[in-house]
């Protein structure tokens, strides 16, 4: 059984430490998914908590622990879309690049302490929504697999590699325009 399988089994027996380890494993994936849809802090926190609450009841139904991350990402994506739709912020297409307007993410820009990080933030924040969402998922602290990124963004796995390449090239272009190599 995989490490994750062992943790899930222990959590099913009521082991809080094992459950906490499962949360730690996927916390970055679930948070980044909600943030990829540019949810505010409080909306993202609600979606994340709802996703974990859902998992608690479905824990004994996850047959393959290796698919747990994709299950969480799918749940967080669907609930993020629900928040956007109910607030009238998204067209009904389900596409990540169909936002009508940027919404209020509250980022701690005071944490940008170096000139290079500030330039990197400016270069990143002027990318398309689609590029920002994909790059954000790819660098999530828990290093999601392409399957998990696909589930988080509703993007076919085969599109991730080419899109990644294009978005990084644009990011590099923005940095060069700003005079940062």
């Amino acid at each position: 059984m995989s490490d994750l399988g062992v943790l899930v089994e222990a959590a099913l027996d009521g082991d809080d430490a094992a459950w906490a380890a499962v949360v730690d494993r996927f916390s970055g994936l679930v948070w980044s998914t909600a943030r990829s849809y540019r949810l505010s802090n409080s909306d993202a926190a609600d979606v994340v908590q709802l996703t974990w609450l859902r998992l608690v009841e479905h824990l004994d139904r996850i047959n393959d622990p290796d698919r747990l991350g994709a299950w969480l990402a799918t749940t967080a994506r669907r609930e993020s879309l629900r928040v956007l739709r109910l607030s009238g912020r998204q067209q009904l297409t389900g596409e990540i690049d169909q936002f009508e307007e940027p919404v209020g993410e509250e980022l701690d820009l005071g944490m940008l302490t170096s000139e290079r990080d500030s330039a990197l933030w400016r270069a990143f924040s002027t990318l398309s929504e689609r590029c920002q969402a994909l790059l954000r998922m790819l660098v999530a602290a828990t290093e999601p697999s392409y399957e998990e990124v696909s589930a988080a963004l509703g993007m076919p796995i085969g599109a991730i590699g080419p899109t990644r390449m294009r978005c990084l090239s644009r990011l590099r272009g923005n940095l060069e325009l700003a005079g940062i190599a």
Binding site: V23, G28, W52, R82, L86, G94
Partner: protein, 160 residues
């Protein structure tokens, strides 16, 4: 071993550190997630969320203003007892009209993620009504219904 570093990986690494500095997972979000294992209902039948009109409907139609946007339909099933909810947005809260299938009287406990709860009754046709504050995350625990016998039926968590 080569000491060549892929420039794309290098740039992604820098981006990851930068985003992690300005947008880390809030500690209270992690703490809340870690505190909920004990909420698992091992003793109950799970009525899974099968459809949510706020997510699933209108994707083909793509027509804005179709139907009543303030009305949301949720269906729960895969269990002997099924539930349909109509969520009417009544700012600042929501009115939820519920229907049990098969229709029969039952007791319905509304459990919210802030740990508050209340109990309402479904009438002999299985109908019930709840008032919830906007944004409430909740699930329903149904007891005393003939379809699930002595066991409770618990729905997936949803947010209004």
């Amino acid at each position: 071993m080569s000491d060549h570093v892929d420039p794309d990986e290098l740039l992604l690494g820098e981006l990851g550190s930068m985003l992690d500095a300005i947008d880390p997972v809030p500690p209270e979000v992690d703490a809340a997630a870690k505190a909920i294992l004990g909420w698992r209902r091992v003793d109950a039948e799970l009525a899974q969320l099968l459809a949510d009109s706020a997510i699933d409907s209108d994707r083909l139609a793509g027509v804005r203003g179709e139907g009543d946007p303030s009305l949301r339909r949720l269906s729960f099933g895969g269990s002997p007892l099924e539930l349909d909810l109509e969520v009417h947005s009544t700012k600042p809260g929501a009115t939820v009209l519920g229907q049990l299938a098969p229709g029969a009287a039952a007791s319905i406990k509304v459990e919210r993620s802030d740990a508050s709860e209340e109990t309402v009754a479904a009438d002999e046709l299985g109908r019930f009504r709840l008032e919830l504050p906007a944004g409430a995350t909740f699930r329903l625990v149904v007891t005393g219904h003939p379809a699930s016998g002595l066991r409770a039926t618990v729905t997936d968590w949803v947010q209004v």
